[in-house]
C-alpha cells in the first residue's frame, strides 16, 4: 500500500540524523508505527496532518508525500465530490490505456512547471 513512501521517509530521516523515536516525537506518532511505515508494513496510512508534519521535519514535498501514502489531500476532496461520477471512469481509462495516462501526466507536469 505504501510502497515508496516508507523508503522516502526512512532515507530522509537518516539524512537528518533523527532516530525513529526522535522523529516520532516530533510528529506525534508512535515510534513503532513509524517503524512499520518505514518498512511498508503499516496496515493503514497516517492521517494527512501527520504526513504534512513528516514532510515539514524531513523537508520533503508534502503534496507528493500525501499522494504517495495513498491519501487524497483534503483540499481536493470537494473537487472529487463534485466530479465523483467521472472519476471512476477516468481512473479506469488511465489504467487500461497507459499512453493516455502518460499524456495526462505529461500535460499536468508541464503546466506545473510553467506555473513555477
Amino acid at each position: 500500500m505504501l510502497q515508496g513512501f516508507g523508503q522516502q521517509i526512512r532515507q530522509a530521516r537518516k539524512e537528518k540524523g533523527y532516530s525513529q523515536r526522535d522523529l516520532a516525537r516530533l510528529v506525534d506518532l508512535d515510534f513503532t508505527y513509524l517503524s512499520k511505515l518505514e518498512n511498508d508494513r503499516a496496515d493503514y496510512p497516517p492521517k494527512e496532518d501527520a504526513i504534512r508534519k513528516l514532510a515539514e521535519h524531513l523537508e520533503l514535498d508534502a503534496e507528493e508525500l500525501v499522494f504517495l501514502a495513498g491519501r487524497i489531500p483534503e483540499r481536493d476532496e470537494e473537487f472529487l465530490r463534485q466530479n465523483y461520477k467521472a472519476m471512476p471512469a477516468l481512473f479506469r481509462r488511465m489504467q487500461e490505456n497507459p499512453e493516455f495516462a502518460q499524456k495526462v501526466f505529461n500535460e499536468a507536469t508541464q503546466q506545473d512547471e510553467q506555473e513555477k
Binding site: 537518516k14 532516530s19 526522535d22 515510534f31 512499520k36
Partner: protein
C-alpha cells in the same frame, strides 16, 4: 560457508574494540555523532540496518524477543512484549546489533543477497532468532557484552559516575536513568568492568578494584 558464525570464544577486549571501532566511525560522520543516552536505532541506521517493531508470533519453543533477517539487513523487535518499549528495548536492539556485528557473516550475506536478486532459486534463509537476553552463555553472552559496551562505553560511565558513589543503589539508579538503560544492565556492566561486586543473592554493593573506603578509582 554459513550466514551465521558461532565463535566459541571472543574476548571482552575484542568485543569492546569492535564497539569502539563503530563509535569512532560514527564520530567522524556528522549526522551520526553518538550522543548519550545512546539511541541504538541510530547505530542501526549507521550500519544500514532497518529496524521494525512488529508482532513476532511465538513458535513451538516459546516467545521470541527479536530476530534478524540477514538478507534484508533487518532487525525485528517484538512489540507484543511491552517491557521492550523502554530501556529494556534499547538493550535488546543493541544486543541484536551485537549479533549482527559478531555473528553474521557479512560477506556471505552480500553474496546471498546478490544471488537472490538474480533469482537463482536459493531457499529462504531462516531468520536469526533471539528468545531471551537473559541467556548468558555463548553467543548470547557475547551479544549482551557488546550491548553493554555500546550503551555504556567506559568514558561515558566515568562521566556519569562523577560525584556519585557506585556502592549506593540510589546513585546507580540515577546513573541508569541518565544513560537510558535498565538498572540490571548497569549493574552487570559495572560488575563486568570490576568496578563493583554484588554477591549472588545479596543487595549489598561492594567496591571492586577499589580502596576499602569505597572510593573507586575509575581511571584504572
Amino acid at each position: 560457508m554459513s550466514l551465521i558464525n558461532y565463535p566459541s570464544f571472543l574476548s571482552k577486549e575484542h568485543i569492546e574494540s569492535e564497539v569502539e571501532k563503530i563509535l569512532e566511525r560514527m564520530r567522524s560522520t556528522p549526522q551520526y555523532v553518538p550522543t548519550f543516552p545512546l539511541d541504538p536505532q541510530r547505530v542501526a541506521d549507521f550500519l544500514d540496518l532497518t529496524v521494525v517493531w512488529d508482532t513476532i508470533p511465538p513458535d513451538t519453543d516459546g516467545q521470541i524477543a527479536a530476530r534478524i533477517l540477514p538478507l534484508l539487513r533487518q532487525i525485528e523487535i517484538n512489540e507484543a512484549i511491552p517491557e521492550l518499549r523502554g530501556g529494556f528495548g534499547n538493550s535488546t536492539l543493541a544486543h541484536e546489533i551485537g549479533h549482527w556485528i559478531l555473528h553474521i557473516n557479512h560477506n556471505e550475506v552480500d553474496g546471498s543477497s546478490k544471488q537472490q536478486t538474480l533469482d537463482l532459486g536459493l531457499e529462504d534463509i531462516q531468520p536469526f532468532l533471539c528468545r531471551s537476553i537473559s541467556a548468558q552463555q555463548g553467543i548470547e553472552w557475547q551479544a549482551q557484552y557488546f550491548a553493554g559496551c555500546l550503551l555504556m562505553p567506559r568514558y561515558i560511565l566515568k562521566d556519569v559516575a562523577q560525584g556519585r558513589k557506585l556502592t549506593k543503589w540510589k546513585h546507580l539508579y540515577a546513573m541508569a536513568e541518565d544513560l537510558g538503560i535498565t538498572i540490571s544492565n548497569l549493574k552487570n556492566r559495572l560488575q563486568d568492568l570490576g568496578w563493583i561486586n554484588i554477591p549472588n543473592g545479596s543487595r549489598q554493593i561492594y567496591p571492586g578494584r577499589s580502596s576499602p573506603t569505597g572510593q573507586i578509582n575509575l581511571l584504572d
